[in-house]
């Protein structure tokens, strides 16, 4: 586009210029013909004729004249406000961090359909990737797009994933966790192990920690319980503790069995193995299918833990390593398994009948179907033989007078649930079992049909029986009828009865250190009794927190501590302080 510019001169301005103006054709933009025609027009007649013809047609139409003009009003009703409630939408934020390794595994899975189980395959893949020079790398995989990543960051990420898999690192972590926690709770752990409290050089020592050491020789200070710590984690919170057991070989390991959140049949149970060295998180966590009702560690193979559950099955777990292969065997498919909850389990050293010297370990269980069974392993499973069936006995009033009369008088073959049993500390063929009806039977392995003796005093289910570890003739029993009874082996009536609170007594245990001391747990408090001091009242009473029921009790064998489990999943460790009981190895009860 050239723009020619001319210089404008004076002459040009004075010139006369002719301009011609012309008109274009008319553009018609809108044309609407009219519908009215003048009467004087040429075709007016034709149009008039057509109009009248149309009127005829309209008039002759059917229904003409019946149309009536009417008007209608729509009524809009008054609006009313109504409120409705619905459940609020619970929104949960969930996040997950995905590691490169997991993407790789999933990709392999979709490509080949074969899950690589071998750790070495994965680690070698990662190591191979790791060896690439640290420049721009491309990470290619089947279904991912080609991604170019910076070499450095990829290397450290891969390295992190490599070490996460290595066992050494996990061991490192374990050691680290224990060291840190030991720092935090050093005074409590020292008190547990009965060591002197560590004094920080340069820090003022707290006076109240040092005092008990000096005051130990005075007997004027009353015995008391001090709570050292509580085992509790988020997995166990809210679940009720049903049973506890120390490991036979490692006295620092405590297995605790938990029930479900409410005491129902279908809720899955949990077993946690706590260690004294780690107060915040259990060493092992085992999830079970139903509420755990009893557990026991084996003495001959200390890493085997037998767990009995509410649906009657007994499972043996190995706590040696935390992996999927921890379940060794289960009695679920066995045809002669218990039909009701397994209330107590015990591994016992049994003498083989033929060769009197050898001792073999067998698992014995008592269940709610009234059978005491001895379990043994065969090729692929686990089966049992019945050692005793707990028959219901009539004529319990005559039990004290004439034993043989009641034995022959039992016509019923109904079985009564057994709740607990205990083996004699020295004579391993005699054991006691407590039943739902309140009777305690002394039985022998050699006689599977009849009880050797029956003790009846309780009229409610007997929750626990315990032989005294110091005096082989004496045992304790506790029941839901609010009492604890002390019996001697050959007397069919109890020697002493103890009541202190009007609540069912859940558990009773003898102290392993002092011959006259035992502990009992009823629903609202923990009681420590010392028969030397008083037979009417417990020496120490520790009430439970409001709303919480204490459910089980264990003495610790090495130190003078008591472990109590309660209904909110907390296992508290108390230390007995100022307990100046003379340690006697044998106590004679003479009445």
């Amino acid at each position: 586009k050239d723009t020619a510019t001319e210089q404008v001169t004076e002459d040009m301005l004075k010139e006369v210029v002719d301009i011609f103006i012309s008109e274009t054709d008319t553009f018609s933009l809108l044309d609407i013909p009219g519908t009215c025609v003048s009467v004087d027009a040429d075709d007016a007649d034709a149009i008039i004729a057509r109009n009248s013809q149309y009127e005829e047609v309209c008039r002759n139409r059917a229904g003409h004249g019946k149309d009536v003009d009417r008007s209608v009003q729509t009524l809009n009703g008054a609006t009313k406000n109504k409120q409705v409630q619905s459940n609020s939408l619970i929104m949960v934020d969930a996040g997950k961090s995905v590691m490169l390794m997991m993407i790789f595994i999933n990709v392999l899975n979709t490509m080949t359909g074969n899950i690589p189980n071998h750790r070495t395959a994965i680690t070698s893949f990662l190591a191979a990737l790791f060896k690439y020079p640290a420049e721009r790398q491309t990470f290619v995989s089947g279904s991912l797009k080609e991604v170019e990543v910076d070499g450095n960051s990829l290397n450290t990420e891969l390295e992190w994933e490599l070490i996460v898999l290595s066992e050494k690192f996990q061991h490192c972590l374990l050691a680290m966790e224990k060291s840190i926690l030991r720092n935090n709770s050093q005074p409590q752990l020292a008190a547990y192990r009965q060591l002197a409290v560590l004094e920080e050089p340069g820090c003022p020592v707290k006076p109240d920690l040092v005092e008990p050491r000096k005051g130990g020789t005075e007997s004027s200070q009353s015995p008391a319980l001090e709570c050292l710590w509580v085992f509790s984690c988020e997995l166990s919170r809210g679940r009720s503790v049903s049973c506890m057991a120390w490991n036979r070989k490692n006295p620092d390991l405590l297995a605790v069995g938990y029930g479900g959140f409410d005491f129902g049949n279908q809720t899955p149970g949990l077993v946690c193995c706590w260690s004294i060295k780690n107060l915040k998180w259990p060493e092992r966590v085992i999830h079970c299918d139903s509420t755990v009702t009893s557990l026991d560690f084996s003495a001959s193979s200390p890493s085997q833990l037998a767990v009995g559950t509410r649906d009657g099955s007994i499972t043996i777990y190995s706590v040696h390593s935390q992996d999927n292969r921890s379940q060794i065997v289960s009695s679920r498919e066995s045809p002669s398994r218990h039909m009701g909850p397994v209330w107590q389990l015990r591994w016992m050293q049994q003498e083989l009948s033929s060769s009197g010297e050898e001792k073999e370990e067998a698992l014995l269980s008592v269940g709610a179907d009234g059978r005491i069974s001895k379990w043994f392993f065969f090729k692929h499973g686990f089966d049992c033989t019945d050692v005793m069936k707990l028959k219901r006995i009539q004529n319990t009033k005559k039990a004290g007078r004439n034993k043989t009369e009641t034995m022959t008088g039992s016509v019923l073959t109904a079985l009564t649930p057994g709740l607990c049993f205990d083996f004699h500390p020295t004579d391993s063929s005699i054991y006691l079992t407590g039943t739902w009806e309140g009777l305690i039977h002394k039985c022998s392995f050699s006689n599977t049909q009849q009880f050797v003796e029956t003790y009846s005093k309780h009229f409610c289910p007997v929750n626990c029986v315990a032989w005294s570890p110091f005096n082989p003739d004496v045992f304790l029993s506790c029941s839901s009828d609010w009492t604890i009874q002390l019996w001697k082996q050959d007397h069919s009536k109890p020697l002493l009865g103890f009541t202190s609170a009007q609540k069912a007594v859940c558990d009773v245990k003898w102290s392993p250190k002092w011959a006259t001391v035992f502990g009992a747990v009823n629903e609202e408090q923990l009681e420590i009794w010392d028969l030397n001091l008083s037979i009417l009242d417990p020496v120490i009473v520790q009430p439970a927190a409001p709303g919480v029921r204490m459910t089980s009790l264990l003495f610790s064998s090495q130190t003078d501590c008591v472990v109590v489990g309660d209904s909110v999943g907390e296992v508290a460790v108390y230390q007995l302080k100022n307990f100046s009981v003379a340690e006697r190895s044998q106590v004679n009860f003479s009445w």
Binding site: S97, M99, M101, M102, I105, I115, N117, R119, I122, T156, E159, W160, E161, I163, V164, L165, S166, K168, F169, Q170, H171, C172, L173, L174, A175, M176, E177, S179, I180, L181, N183, N184, E200, G202, C203, K280, W281, Q322, D323, N324
Partner: protein, 101 residues
């Protein structure tokens, strides 16, 4: 899968350690001295990694000089207000914990 579960457990344990009462920070360092994971800020991480690298090497050589079969497993440095715990394997895991009163 078992390995995935293990990896998740390791992550959970690391989180628990970092959340324990009194712990100021944790870091994991590879044998070359490159920090792999850390809960502290960059400058502190590099400082700790650098300083402790020397100390760990010295401690390790001390242990090995006395008994060549032996190896260093852990090292703790206790100061007035805090304690540095180093657990060694192939990799160093370092935790700084504030001491309770």
């Amino acid at each position: 899968m078992f390995l995935v579960k293990q990896a998740e457990e390791v992550e959970a344990r690391m989180k628990r350690i970092a959340a324990t009462k009194g712990v100021i920070g944790t870091l994991v360092v590879n044998p070359d001295g490159v920090p792999l994971r850390s809960t502290l800020d960059q400058s502190m991480t590099l400082q700790y990694a650098g300083q402790l690298q020397n100390l760990v090497a010295l401690a390790r050589s001390t242990v090995r000089d006395i008994d060549p079969q032996n190896d260093l497993s852990a090292l703790r440095v206790r100061a007035k207000n805090y304690e540095i715990i180093v657990v060694t394997g192939d990799y160093l895991m370092i935790t700084i914990q504030k001491l309770p009163e």
